[in-house]
Symmetry: C2
Subunit: 301 residues, 2 copies
DNA sequence: CTGATGATGTGGTCAGACCACATAAGTGTA
DNA sequence: TACACTTATGTGGTCTGACCACATCATCAG
């Protein structure tokens, strides 16, 4: 059955980004430059795998053929295969592992949160996304999440546990904000909507550095922390009580309140208010969070 | 000034995923295996570029050092550099071009829509995203878009032009749906929120194949097309008249109505209603759209 | 039956070599 | 001098071959 995974050009044709060069088949008369320029080798590989995913030939849990087999099967070099696999890995579609045995090689996983996070994080870093827009979008989504949870009386056990964890002991700002992120994410997860959950995870990840950095500038952090914690309790109470309108309002106030207090949305984009300071425009916070490797595939989802 | 772009370990330390091996600097005492296993070479490259983006050293329009320079500068092989650059390219952060001169090489662009699209499209293909969840999320976002546009009386000229284009002449289903997608996207763009716009583009792209496929099963397509077109006009009218509630309601009805009619949301995920047919579970539509290369970076944004 | 030991196959990485391409510099004319 | 042509030069794109570390599995001695 592995043969199907390597069929580059099935007789039925229609495969995207087929490579006519380097192919040993003399029947196809090269086809001058049909639509656009010739597809790049790594795009061929990516298209091939995407087609097999879309056709259901590959499903989560399945193993991809080895890099060498894919290369020879598609008529490309192994390095091109690797570039495509690297993309798939970062997007959260496959997981690679060295060694031998059933769990080695590239395996389909379909974990979108990691890819969403790195995408949004990098776009914010590269000034493609304004922090203010990230916050606004999060506001829209999380308000809808709270409303839906209240309407459906969804299970919020995970959120409550995180709420309790935030209440126990004295936490540093970073520790609290970590739990805070998990709390908000657990609300999204409670909807059962994976798209929503992954998007929320990405949005949060994109501005995480800014949030943490801003907490240092809050005058009375313990007081702010207590207020946020109380707001969390109120939100959860409104959800559990089945009051959609109140839940949505409280979420909106919670989010916009914090960002207004910390003025996070003032930083980090092209059209930024220039009145804040005279440093080189839009310096990013820290820029080096030790716990922030290039790929922080969150294990949350 | 290119020197800064190659500084792998600035004296201030703190760089993520620093590679102590192959480095010719004997000052750093190797640091056994600090947190986890050694970072992969391509992660080193990615982290290095991300750090420079976050620090503002790299901005849109800037050129990255050449692949060979980057490789020697970071002490990795060129293939590892390429894997990192490939990821950045797919995520819409850089654009590469062969040849010489100022427009060649890798250039920071920060175009998020393409990356968002391929991410969501692949996740749907790999069954990480349920089509129903994509539609639900789109419903939430686009409802908010319509409400905001009506509240702010935003400019909707682009949307109106597309509306007119959809009205002219007789269009095939595919042509109409293409304009339909652009119409909805233009609404998102009108908000000026790039995050929202990119997300909407990704969501649409993820289910585009399903939408087109489903249109073939609509019994009376010209009638459906006229109805959709009328709904478009009503939505735009509500927005231009500044009636947020009505605009939001009409958008919600428009979207959920179409997907209910075509039953698109019945297909394409793990927990799918098994009663529909007895084909191999969840066959994707077509799976090969000739106009659908692996990377369809939309030029819309 | 058990434990050590090698064979096998995986991804991860690097070095080197080409190619196609686009610009820039040089060269030759008119 | 001005213009056309030719030749470097440097870019990404690709392939090949070679290692390495690692994890499993088959083998074999005890």
């Amino acid at each position: 059955m592995d043969d199907a995974l390597l069929d580059a050009e099935p007789a039925s044709a229609g495969n995207i980004a087929a490579r006519s060069d380097t192919a040993t088949d003399p029947t196809t008369p090269v086809a001058p430059p049909p639509p656009a320029a010739t597809a790049k080798a790594w795009e061929t590989v990516l298209a091939h795998i995407e087609a097999q995913l879309a056709a259901g030939i590959l499903s989560p849990g399945d193993r991809l053929p080895g890099e060498r087999a894919l290369a020879t099967g598609l008529g490309v070099g192994r390095s091109s295969v690797r570039e495509a696999l690297r993309v798939l890995e970062v997007l959260g579609l496959i997981r690679t592992q060295t060694g031998s045995g059933p769990s080695s090689g590239a395996i389909i996983v379909a974990r979108p949160s990691g890819g969403m996070s790195i995408l949004m994080r990098l776009q914010v870093a590269a000034q493609g996304f304004a922090v203010a827009d990230v916050v606004k979008t999060r506001l829209v989504l999380e308000t809808a999440v709270a409303r839906e949870l209240a309407e459906t009386r969804a299970h919020t056990a995970a959120a409550r546990e995180l709420l309790d964890a935030m209440g126990r002991g004295t936490l540093t700002d970073t520790e609290f904000l970590l739990l805070d992120a998990q709390f908000h994410l657990s609300l999204a997860e409670a909807t059962g909507n994976d798209v929503l959950t992954a998007t929320m995870a990405g949005l949060r990840s994109a501005i995480e550095a800014y949030v943490i950095d801003a907490s240092a500038h809050v005058p009375d952090w313990p007081r702010t922390m207590r207020r946020l914690q109380q707001e969390h309790r109120d939100i959860l109470a409104a959800i559990d009580a089945g009051r959609p309108g109140e839940a949505a309002e409280r979420v909106a106030a919670h989010i916009s309140g914090y960002y207004a207090e910390t003025r996070i949305t003032d930083a980090g984009h092209h059209h930024t208010s220039p009145t804040t300071s005279d440093r080189p425009p839009e310096m990013a916070p820290h820029s080096t969070l030790a716990s922030h490797p290039a790929l922080a595939h969150p294990t949350t989802t």
